[in-house]
């Protein structure tokens, strides 16, 4: 746990974030898989920002008469059934996916860590505090009684499709995970002597919980954000695939695959192939990055 507080302590000092990042990149150099992940993350971030701008064709504009053309010099990945250029759509898709994934992950992280701190720190106290902390845990347990995708489906189903609801569903789903991970860390941190010292100095329990315990317990949750993002992207595309996610003309890998599916079956392989490859690579990249981050934080610079 001290290493995570080191990281966060480092991060809280200006300019050290840059140094931390650079150290991580150097670390990644030694591990090709992590490097690969970092590259993917970089590429997707770039595409999210500039994708639609650098795309040769308007990703939401259908070219009549140009439907179902195989990959050619003009259309690098071919066109789909309504004549939209697949390449342009593929590189424009990260924007919506990443926005959804990042926003929902951040919300889940913030809420999850906060709840984790509360439920972990006050776990053994008596009275109301304990009731709340136990209550939080029970709710998290019950939430996990639903298979993830089905729950996301249900949330979207009950509230209606649309990007905002997808974000809400994903955020809600990921909270228990961040909660548990943080809670475990809190159990260890709260035994440390400096917490006792803070208590002697007269700080209120709430203050201790949020000013001292939280920054030091957020490490494990932080390390898990990256794979969480990958998973969120997967979930978003799954929802979009069945039509319960991002609305249709918006380019999104899952919805592109669903549009291209019937064509693929009849032999036009390019309609659904490319978005899937990109999707798989992206999720893989974020997962590898997350693994690398985890190894980097704990133990520090292993091997």
């Amino acid at each position: 746990m001290s290493s995570s507080s080191e990281i966060l302590g480092m991060a809280s000092r200006r300019g050290s974030i840059k140094r931390g990042l650079r150290d991580f990149v150097l670390f990644a150099r030694r591990r090709p898989s992590v490097m690969f992940g970092l590259v993917i993350v970089g590429v997707t971030l770039f595409l999210a920002l500039f994708g639609p701008a650098v795309a040769p064709f308007d990703p939401e504009h259908a070219l009549p008469g140009a439907g179902l053309q195989p990959p050619s010099f003009q259309h690098w990945m071919g066109t789909d059934v309504s004549g939209m250029d697949i390449f342009s759509r593929t590189i424009s898709a990260p924007r919506i996916d990443l926005v959804i994934a990042l926003v929902s992950s951040l919300i889940a992280f913030a809420v999850g860590v906060a709840l984790g701190v509360i439920s972990g720190y006050f776990a053994s106290n008596r009275g109301v505090a304990r009731f709340i902390s136990e209550g939080i845990m029970r709710c998290a347990d019950i939430l996990q009684a639903f298979p993830v995708f089905i729950f996301a489906l249900a949330l979207v189903g009950f509230r209606g499709p649309g990007t905002g609801n997808v974000i809400a569903a994903l955020a809600f789903l990921n909270i228990p995970y961040f909660l548990r991970v943080t809670r475990g860390a809190v159990f260890q941190v709260r035994e440390q002597p400096f917490i006792e010292a803070a208590r002697c100095a007269g700080n209120s329990e709430l203050r201790i919980a949020f000013v001292h315990v939280m920054p030091n317990s957020a490490g494990p949750a932080l390390a898990n954000i990256s794979p969480g993002i990958g998973f969120a992207i997967l979930l978003t595309s799954a929802l979009s695939f069945v039509g319960a996610g991002v609305p249709k003309p918006t380019p999104e890998w899952g919805s592109m695959i669903s549009i291209g599916a019937p064509n693929m079956i009849t032999g036009q392989w390019w309609t659904a192939l490319f978005p899937g490859i990109f999707l798989g690579l992206t999720v893989l990249g974020y997962a590898l990055c997350g693994d690398g981050l985890r190894d980097y934080i704990d133990p520090m610079n292993r091997r």
């Binding site: 009684a145 298979p147 209606g160 319960a244 693929m264 893989l284 590898l288």
Partner: protein, 336 residues
């Protein structure tokens, strides 16, 4: 005797869990912002229509009354009516459940029967070619979306090679549907003695099951491998080696102790399979519960959706109950 006591305890514990689940499902609809009546009535509904829907769903009653009526209905076996199929939800479920079960059970069984031996083998014989292959496979299958993989498999084996039938459901249109015993076409066809239908059903089963297995078997392989490796390095296996116990016995000690975590992973895989089944059913037009649930979402068919979620939760609870029971039989350290 101990086992009976434990299983009874767990079964009893199931009840409050179900209650909690039903509460969540209930509140999901009613407490979230947005009016389900509008959703169901549709965009172009008139105000009267919306009101009608609201009354229909009993949304004008106070919450506690709504919950009680809801629970009452469920216990009586009334899960509502689907406005899409015009049938009772219970009837819809009954006709679709076996299809999904067939899918999940086959995929689960194959994943376990293949995954565990592979996991054990790579744990015992480390650093072979298999290691590298497995590593790549593991990385890939965790990232590739199952619905996309299904499409690729269809493309290769149906569109290109023509070896297997296309995604038109569970049976060839010309094949005879076997007499319903379990509802699972493969088993029923065997019972019926209908060889053609059996083959047809099996052929249609191959690709969807393969999709699920390819994606979810990794979990079993990875976990089995790491658990067995850990056990092989454990103190008590070392000590067995120090006392001259033959290698086969050492391996048995390790495998036996690896069983509890592996059983948990198997449970988790079945849990994942339910979610995966939903997507795979959509790709392959399987006509099971998964597809039913998805359609309910898209068309805002409220009653089936609620029932679907409830069933999914029930399935999860049952799977984890079974895992707990299995754990209990294997590990004597668990207290009653």
């Amino acid at each position: 005797m101990r086992f009976l006591r434990y299983s009874l305890r767990r079964l009893v514990f199931l009840v409050p869990q179900l209650v909690a689940v039903s509460l969540i499902v209930f509140f999901l609809v009613r407490l979230l912002p947005g009016d389900p009546a509008y959703l169901i009535a549709g965009q172009f509904a008139t105000k009267e229509r919306v009101e009608e829907v609201r009354r229909d769903l009993g949304l004008d009653q106070p919450l506690p009354v709504q919950y009680v009526t809801y629970v009452g209905r469920v216990l009586r076996g009334d899960l509502g009516r689907s406005w899409r199929t015009s049938q009772s939800v219970v009837e819809d479920i009954r006709s679709r459940l076996p299809a999904t079960l067939e899918l999940i059970l086959s995929a689960g069984l194959i994943s376990v029967l293949l995954g565990i031996p592979i996991g054990v083998y790579t744990a015992v014989k480390r650093r072979g070619v298999g290691d590298k292959v497995l590593f790549v496979y593991g990385m890939l299958s965790g990232s590739i979306p199952d619905f996309w993989l299904g499409l690729i498999l269809i493309f290769v084996f149906f569109s290109l090679l023509g070896w297997l039938p296309g995604p038109i459901g569970r049976l060839d249109p010309i094949a005879e549907t076997p007499a319903t015993v379990t509802g699972m076409y493969t088993i029923d066809a065997l019972i019926d003695g209908n060889w053609d239908s059996f083959v047809s059903a099996l052929q249609h089963l191959v690709l969807p099951v393969a999709t699920l297995v390819l994606v979810y078997m990794t979990l079993i392989i990875k976990n089995t491998r790491s658990t067995v490796e850990e056990m092989l390095r454990s103190d008590f296996v070392e000590h067995a080696r120090a006392l001259g116990l033959p290698r086969s016995k050492q391996l048995r000690y390790a495998l036996h102790n690896a069983l509890p975590p592996v059983v948990t992973v198997i449970g988790i895989v079945f849990w994942f399979l339910l979610g995966g089944a939903v997507l795979v059913e959509t790709v392959f037009a399987w006509g099971g519960l998964g597809q039913y649930g998805v359609e309910a979402v898209i068309y805002s068919d409220y009653a089936p959706l609620q029932a679907f979620v409830l069933l999914a939760a029930l399935f999860t609870l049952v799977v984890f109950l079974l895992v707990d029971l299995a754990y209990f039989t294997i590990d004597p350290r668990i207290k009653t």
